[in-house]
Symmetry: C2
Subunit: 207 residues, 2 copies
């Protein structure tokens, strides 16, 4: 963030050790936030999973809210990068979306993170409230754009507004996460999230 340059060589902040445990903290925090939510998760628990004390954690992230912001930011970067890579590799927009879902289905912690947090962050004073507002705006925005493209090609089902189609699609992704998580201990009626997304898109497009 600062423009100030280190004395001689351009160097990443801190020592290698510090950067490493910082990453470990982010991993552990992501998992725990997913497991129990942001409010319920404690800094001591995160720290203990990394093998340090909780003031040790606060040395890297000055407060719990700062930790949360870092977790969300990094998580978004990873997903966004993979999504763009799929797009550049020639994949369909919705295919790329489904592939995100598929990848997440293999990492229950991430699914829990976003399902739990997006509900929690519904409160206007939640530290992640603005983050999720912005996130939904961009994702339904770009999905709307995609549906508009399909409509111009005559491939959107008649009588459906592209914006509504987009909202329904992301609603399906969120809603299926809950059904998927809730059925974690009864695998028989556990839905396939990616298949559900594809079925939803198919229902919204014509033919």
């Amino acid at each position: 963030m600062t423009t100030q340059a280190p004395p001689s060589t351009a160097r990443a902040a801190g020592y290698a050790r510090g950067r490493a445990t910082r990453e470990e903290i982010l991993d552990a925090a992501m998992l725990l936030f997913g497991e129990v939510g942001y409010h319920t998760a404690s800094l001591r628990e995160v720290a203990s999973r990394v093998g340090i004390s909780h003031p040790g954690l606060l040395h890297h992230f000055s407060s719990k809210a700062v930790l949360l912001a870092a977790v969300l930011e990094r998580r978004d970067e990873v997903d966004e990068a993979a999504f763009q890579a799929d797009l550049d590799a020639g994949h369909d927009y919705f295919d790329a979306l489904a592939r995100i879902v598929e990848r997440n289905a293999a990492r229950p912690g991430i699914v829990e993170l976003f399902a739990t947090l997006s509900a929690e962050a519904t409160s206007p004073d939640h530290p992640a409230h603005a983050f999720f507002q912005a996130r939904y705006r961009t994702v339904v925005g770009s999905t709307t754009a995609e549906f508009e493209r399909r409509r111009d090609e005559g491939r959107l089902r008649s009588g459906i507004d592209p914006d509504m189609a987009a909202r329904l699609t992301v609603a399906v992704m969120d809603g299926m996460q809950i059904q998927w998580l809730l059925a974690a201990d009864t695998p028989d009626d556990r839905p396939d999230m990616a298949e559900a997304l594809r079925a939803q898109v198919a229902a919204l497009l014509s033919d």
Copy 2:
């Protein structure tokens, strides 16, 4: 619950006053659980909103988990009764569903309750875990049955499994709740939940 009968006349448990504050407690708890979630909500806060002390609250509900169970149970009874009434009045199954959504849209507390809690109760050790598992089983079950009926009438879109259609439909309801809650302070891009549900059902049915 008990079969034991009072001495002479059949009488509701406790005094009138007690039953009244019990109701007040349930109302306040429902709102607060919706606002901040079950874990974050405190018995003292609920009690203070009713104007009593927190041991006073515990006199009516012996523990926090018991309170939660009572809130959910009562909420489900109310919704179920209204739903059945709509059905008996000759309304379409999906119309009746949409009317539930419409009613809830006028009571943000209820929407927050279920959105927050269903995500929270995702954890297997959450006191409401079993409740939500059962709830989803019955609601996607009955919705699946309805879609099967439509399919037999040739009104279900080809290539869509009734069970999948049901899951997508309830996923849309859940997912739209999050988008709706998240946009509470920016009414311009706040979706119409009932309209979304109707659009979703329309997309799943043929013609």
